[in-house]
């Protein structure tokens, strides 16, 4: 038993912290404040920078230009990106750690070879398209359908809230290939380039926070693809593939929460030192100091739970998905509170538009929502606990 980071992990943490502070953090404000049709260029530049330190390839096989590190290391590095700019984190995670990881896990060699080297270098940006206007975590409710006509698949449907859609070169699209099949075995994931006929990306959607991460819907209208586009080459695997990659999404949300939490905690602590009232630092008042203590506590434990869950996946533990839900739930709720407390320490100065803490407060709110709300996580966790003691 050893809870310490390895020397390599410590080095990765330090390198990423330094790099993100210098290269990523300075762009956070402009990304947040730019209109949604202008952020694409800036975020692409950030992804290019992250590619230079091989952040986008951390989890991808060496032969495709990645470094094939474990998920724990990806979390360690990801925290630093999220701390510097949560929008950049989300965009990068969606391309490399969701799209890329999904290809890495399930793609045929030819498919991997075609996309992964580009993903690692940020020459190719990927997006995962499964959510629909009427289907979120209840994935079985999607309406997108792929019908076999001759040797082609003809796909029709609408995808919603697809992170990276406005800048993506390629999508992983979930569709029904057999609506009569037993639940779970009728879905398939297709790899579809954005220029394919029938694919049209909607206008970028304005969001409350994470405004630098481009997001849009996709309309799929009689889009024709061949068997080569089926992820892994086999139909009917879509649901289990998406469910597995959802676990990366949960870990990603928890990691983002921890990163934003670090920024909130550091910012509020510095302010509590600098700001004086009634002749002393405001941090010396317990109402402020104890909030800082709680911020640290919940941030710290959220990080431990995230590493624990990630480590569980690295080791192939059976319970890793439950631990991932625990981490996502804990870190997600923690950051909602931490961001709130942080803004409160700044008081009136935190309420001003354009301050870091105000941006963090808006960014933070998504951590409880993305990849299954807190309510969904509780449902997953309690079902597991109740089933263990079913009479």
């Amino acid at each position: 038993m050893d809870y310490e980071l390895t020397n390599d992990q410590k080095e990765l943490q330090q390198d990423m912290a330094r790099f993100c502070k210098e290269e990523i953090a300075p762009k956070a404000k402009v990304l947040d404040e730019s209109p949604s049709d202008k952020i694409g260029a800036i975020i692409k530049e950030n992804l290019k920078k992250l590619a230079k330190v091989n952040y986008l390839g951390l989890g991808i096989e060496v032969r495709y230009g990645g470094s094939d590190l474990d998920l724990v290391s990806q979390c360690i590095a990801g925290e630093e990106v999220a701390k510097a700019c949560a929008s950049t984190f989300l965009s990068a995670w969606s391309s490399a750690y969701m799209f890329g990881a999904m290809l890495n896990l399930f793609g045929a060699d030819e498919q991997k070879g075609r996309y992964l080297p580009g993903v690692v270098k940020a020459d190719v940006i990927g997006a995962l398209a499964y959510t629909e206007p009427d289907a979120g975590v209840d994935i079985a409710g999607i309406k997108t359908i792929a019908e076999k006509k001759g040797d082609k698949w003809v796909i029709n449907g609408t995808k919603d809230l697809v992170t990276n859609a406005p800048i993506a070169d390629v999508f992983l699209v979930l569709a029904y290939t057999n609506t009569d099949a037993e639940s779970g075995s009728g879905m398939t994931v297709f790899i579809i380039d954005k220029d394919t006929k029938g694919i049209s990306v909607g206008k970028p959607i304005e969001t409350m926070g994470l405004r630098g991460a481009p997001i849009a819907g996709i309309n799929i209208d009689n889009c024709e693809v061949s068997d080569d586009s089926i992820l892994g080459g086999e139909t009917g695997k879509g649901l289990s593939q998406i469910e597995r990659i959802f676990e990366n999404g949960k870990i990603g949300m928890a990691t983002m929460a921890v990163g934003i939490g670090m920024a909130c905690t550091e910012g509020a602590t510095q302010y509590a030192k600098d700001r004086k009232a009634f002749g002393r630092q405001i941090g010396k008042f317990q109402e402020v100091g104890f909030k800082l203590a709680d911020m640290f506590t919940y941030n710290d434990l959220g990080r431990m739970l995230t590493y624990r869950a990630a480590w569980g996946f690295d080791k192939g533990e059976k319970e890793a998905n439950i631990l991932a839900s625990c981490a996502k739930l804990f870190a997600g709720e923690a950051i909602t509170n931490i961001a709130n407390w942080s803004l409160h320490v700044f008081a009136g100065h935190g309420y001003l538009k354009g301050t870091d803490v105000e941006r963090l407060y808006r960014d933070a709110r998504f951590c409880e929502i993305g990849y299954g709300t807190s309510e969904m996580q509780r449902s997953i966790i309690s079902k597991d606990a109740l089933d263990k003691f079913a009479s």
């Binding site: 038993m1 509590a272 434990l301 739970l305 480590w311 606990a385 003691f389 009479s391």
Partner: protein, 382 residues
């Protein structure tokens, strides 16, 4: 990084859990109702060998490291052993015997540790005073050297095991004006002239541990019973932080797992409105929170414990964080467990009722949650 328990650790946990469940837990409800120290439970723990867990075999112990000690605490809490019995064990082994083992002379170790390890003698530790709790540097119990003896005067309070103890490690000051730099530790035997204990307090929870005041009226302590050096007591008091924040919290972790299991079983069995209450989201919500709590506390405790075993310097922030979270959130979880059981949870015969009372101590004993937050915020603002 390696979060795994070894096979040896898992087997050890299993053995302790089974023994606790079969031999000790059935005694706990009645003992808690009586609200008295139970020699029967004590002897069972002695038989199992946990009382001497961290000491070398030549001193009658098991040679366990700190992670193993936490595993034992967790396993017994999980087995349904009450918080009072586990507190009595913790005060005895970690606060009394460990201090003698770590700071005592060879003679002191040989004289006291084997008998404490076997459970023949019961130990306690006296630091807190009526006027000095978290502000431990302000203690008023004095020690004055006269010839080959120290003469102690003053009193201690809230001393776990005091009414049943043969041996006490106590802290007194040689010079109050020096605050913490005057504090000195002594090993006291109950027969020393001038030493006495008060009547056991009636406590809210952890009732199977006996707690009382301790009085020193010109109490004569032979000079060979000085523990460590003169004015070296503060360091002794501080030295056990890793132990306090892991081993002493581990029973609370175990109790939370026990409670989660009881709640999950009950939510499956209890039907209202034609379905198990576990089908209602409000009940599911609480059960999910209990699971998350147990996972988080487990990580918090074993992080501090394994760091100590691996020779990594203590991060005082992590130690304080454990206590804040395990204490405050643990009490909320224990309250939620009562809520799931509804009216039954309010009844003594349901262990969640006892656990609710026992859990409150987690936010108080060994430094309140407020004090922990004070420590964390002070370090952050440095």
């Amino acid at each position: 990084m390696d979060f795994a328990f070894s096979d040896e650790q898992k087997m050890f946990r299993d053995t302790i859990y089974r023994y606790g469940k079969e031999e000790i837990a059935p005694l706990c409800e009645e003992a808690d109702l009586k609200g008295e120290f139970s020699h029967e439970i004590w002897n069972k723990m002695a038989e199992m060998g946990v009382l001497g867990l961290p000491f070398p075999e030549e001193l009658g112990g098991q040679g366990a490291d700190i992670v193993m000690c936490c595993i034992a605490g967790e396993a017994l809490g999980h087995a349904g052993v009450d918080g009072g019995s586990l507190l009595a064990w913790g005060a005895h082994t970690y606060l009394c015997a460990c201090n003698i083992f770590n700071f005592g002379t060879e003679e002191q170790k040989k004289k006291y540790v084997p008998k404490l390890a076997s459970g023949e003698w019961i130990g306690c530790m006296g630091l807190t005073e009526p006027g000095s709790g978290s502000d431990a540097a302000s203690i008023r119990t004095t020690a004055v050297k006269k010839g080959d003896k120290y003469i102690l005067n003053g009193s201690k309070t809230f001393i776990t095991n005091a009414p049943v103890a043969e041996v006490a490690v106590v802290f007194a000051t040689l010079d109050r004006s020096k605050r913490h730099e005057g504090i000195t530790a002594f090993i006291i035997e109950k027969d020393f002239p001038g030493f006495s204990t008060g009547k056991p307090f009636h406590k809210m929870g952890c009732k199977v541990s006996a707690t009382s005041e301790v009085f020193f009226e010109d109490c004569e302590v032979p000079e060979e019973n000085l523990l460590g050096e003169e004015c070296g007591g503060w360091q002794i008091g501080l030295s056990g932080v890793e132990w306090d924040r892991s081993t002493l919290l581990s029973p609370f972790l175990g109790a939370s797992i026990y409670s989660l299991e009881l709640c999950a079983k009950y939510a499956n069995e209890r039907h209202q409105f034609n379905r198990p209450i576990g089908k209602f989201q409000a009940v599911q919500h609480r059960i999910a929170d209990m699971k998350v709590f147990a996972e988080a506390v487990k990580l918090a405790i074993y992080r501090v414990a394994s760091a100590k075993d691996n020779g990594v310097m203590l991060n005082p922030l992590q130690a304080a964080v454990n206590k804040v979270y395990a204490g405050d959130e643990g009490f909320r979880m224990a309250s939620d467990a009562v809520q799931i059981f509804g009216g039954y949870g309010f009844m003594h015969e349901y262990p969640v009722e006892r656990n609710f009372r026992d859990a409150k101590l987690g936010a108080i004993g060994g430094g309140t949650s407020d004090i922990m937050r004070m420590i964390v915020s002070r370090i952050m603002l440095m």
